[in-house]
Amino acid sequence: MQKLSFWLQRVSQLLVVLLLVTFGVSLLIRIIPVDLATIVMPVADETQRAAFRASIGLDKGPIGYYLQWLGNFVHGDLGNIYYSGGTETVSGHLIKAMPRSLLLMSYTQIFALGVAIPLGVLSAYRAGRRADRVISNTLFIFSSIPGFAIGLILIIIVGTKFEWLPTLGYATFSEGIWEHFKHMIMPVLSLSLGLIAQYTRLLRADMIASLREDYVTMAMSKGLSDRRILWRHVFRPSSVTLFTSAALSMGGLIGGAIVIESIFATYGVGFEIFAAIGGRQYIMLQSCVAVIALFYVFFNLVVDIGSGFVDPRTRDRRANA
């Protein structure tokens, strides 16, 4: 049962990362030059503030505070958002924001991969020829324009000038599927153009490397058609890096989404983080980062499982690890 021990080891590694990340973020509260209780209760007196500190464990030192927060987090209590006039739960905000972000990220990934895979295969197959040069150069430029710039330019052209699409807000499915997608098109485009460039380049490079391998010549000498060789023999071994990078870019997407969500007022998780920082809601920030780190761990495991699926060599290396 070597396999089990590999996964145990891998999961424990990731858990260590997860704990260290959340602990690190919980230290932020200690670094800020301001007292959290003062921010939360600007008009309260010292006893009330002390009670507040005790309620979230701030009086217990960094480790005590972290352990209390962690205990609550595991039980689904992500803390509260405090503002003048009341509190709301962080989980309440996240439950509303999460689906929007997840949908935005999923559409972005699907669109980016859907475009990048054929482009990558085509430009590797026609490497050095015109189609390849056109694709590579166009994408190279796209990869250098930040997503928010693309978003703002889209707003100017598509949203303001021609008024084809709404520039702000989000629509749920219940408001109509078409409405939902209309609000998503521009954010998805802004987030995905850079990714398309990145994915295409990765796939192209790996495909070109694979195409030079003897097993491709071997497949040719068996009399297989180019199309079959490309997709059946070359694509799969060449796609490991692509899928790894796609899964790991989910984290980066959340970062990118902060800006895009604030431009398009999508109010997803990215926007919540931004709002938490702007409003000095450090508990909210801490829990949001923890949730993102959870995602990171999850997608790392997806990569591990997926790459074993695509490339049997990794599976066996693990069995021996």
Binding site: S5, N320, A321
Partner: protein, 329 residues
């Protein structure tokens, strides 16, 4: 074999290198240990060339590196000029290593691509502060000339501008810079073309004479070894099969493995094709070697005894030692 024993050890005062019961094992997984070299002993006498021959995975390269303590072996002693290297503290080991230099298989990977030939050969001299600039430059020129390179043409070029054979010449010059007593060559010609192989082999022979070197020459190629060795040691799965001078070993091998190996070498002469029975199968895994004689699973002469008892090296003819219960007579 593939057995153990020390009958072939000569224990003379002339021994430059004496290796006793050397064992190297790697852990590749939790409960998987590769037994690369198992309790192996040999000695190398001044002025001789000991050839270590075996197929891939027999542990010959691991052996060479363990002798140089790169990394140190798990057990056993490596006595160089009377000093046991395995017991030396780090700093002393550093200086002890200089009397034993190594030539590697991949001539290109063994030279730093960012350094000029001058810098490459100067490096060992610089580490040990051998002479001033002018003296060192003169030494570099001499070394280059002795390996057949024109100093003016090569000094300021980098390794990637040279062919494999030329890189190997540079490596030899570098290895000789510190006046070592001993040269360990790990497959120095197997990455080279046939016509270049001969050049490097002849150069090594020539250098050996000029510099009074003692040599350990590791190879998978019995033919290459025959041309340059004074003693041949055949290895199989981390153990010794047979030790003998080449004229004896090639004429009448006593170990079944040695014979099989010899019969497998293709001879470039259509009139001399021998078609004997081939060795069947492939070597077993060094993680789980067979009991008793490690070669018994593929040996035509194996008996029940071979599974039970590990054969010890013994002398079957003057100078010819074999680790086999049923040697070929």
């Amino acid at each position: 074999m593939a057995g153990s024993g020390t009958a072939h050890m000569r224990n003379t005062v002339d021994s430059v290198l004496t290796v006793r019961d050397l064992t190297v094992e790697f852990r590749v997984a939790k409960d998987k240990i590769v037994k690369a070299v198992s309790g192996l002993s040999f000695d190398v006498v001044r002025g001789e060339t000991l050839a270590i021959v075996g197929e891939s995975g027999c542990g010959k390269t691991t052996l060479a590196r363990a002798v140089l303590q790169l990394p140190p072996p798990n057990a056993g002693e490596v006595v160089l000029n009377g000093t046991d290297l395995t017991l030396l503290p780090k700093e002393n080991l550093r200086s002890a290593r200089t009397s034993m230099q190594m030539i590697f298989q991949d001539p290109i990977s063994s030279l730093d691509p960012r350094m000029t030939v001058h810098q490459l050969i100067d490096e060992p001299l610089e580490i040990w502060d051998r002479g001033n600039r002018a003296e060192r430059d003169e030494r570099i020129n001499k070394l280059l000339q002795s390996v057949g390179l024109e100093p003016e043409l090569v000094l300021n070029r980098r390794s990637y501008e040279f062919s494999g054979g030329q890189c190997q010449r540079i490596s030899i010059a570098r290895a000789l810079a510190l006046d070592p007593r001993m040269l360990i060559c790990d497959e120095p010609v197997s990455a080279l073309d046939v016509s270049i192989q001969a050049q490097i082999l002849n150069l090594l022979l020539h250098m050996k004479e000029t510099f009074g070197l003692t040599m350990v020459f590791i190879s998978h190629d019995l033919a290459v070894v025959k041309a340059i060795s004074t003693r041949v040691m055949v290895m199989y799965l981390g153990k010794i099969c047979e030790v003998a001078p080449p004229d004896v070993l090639y004429a009448k091998p006593a170990h079944h493995y040695t014979r099989a190996l010899l019969n497998s070498v293709p001879i470039p002469d259509p009139t001399k094709q021998i078609r004997t029975e081939l060795l069947q199968g492939e070597p077993p895994s060094p993680m789980n070697p067979p009991s008793g004689c490690r070669f018994r699973t593929r040996c035509v002469g194996a008996s029940a005894l071979c599974a039970e008892q590990e054969p010890q090296l013994r002398e079957v003819s003057p100078g010819q030692f074999v680790a086999c219960h049923h040697p070929i007579v």
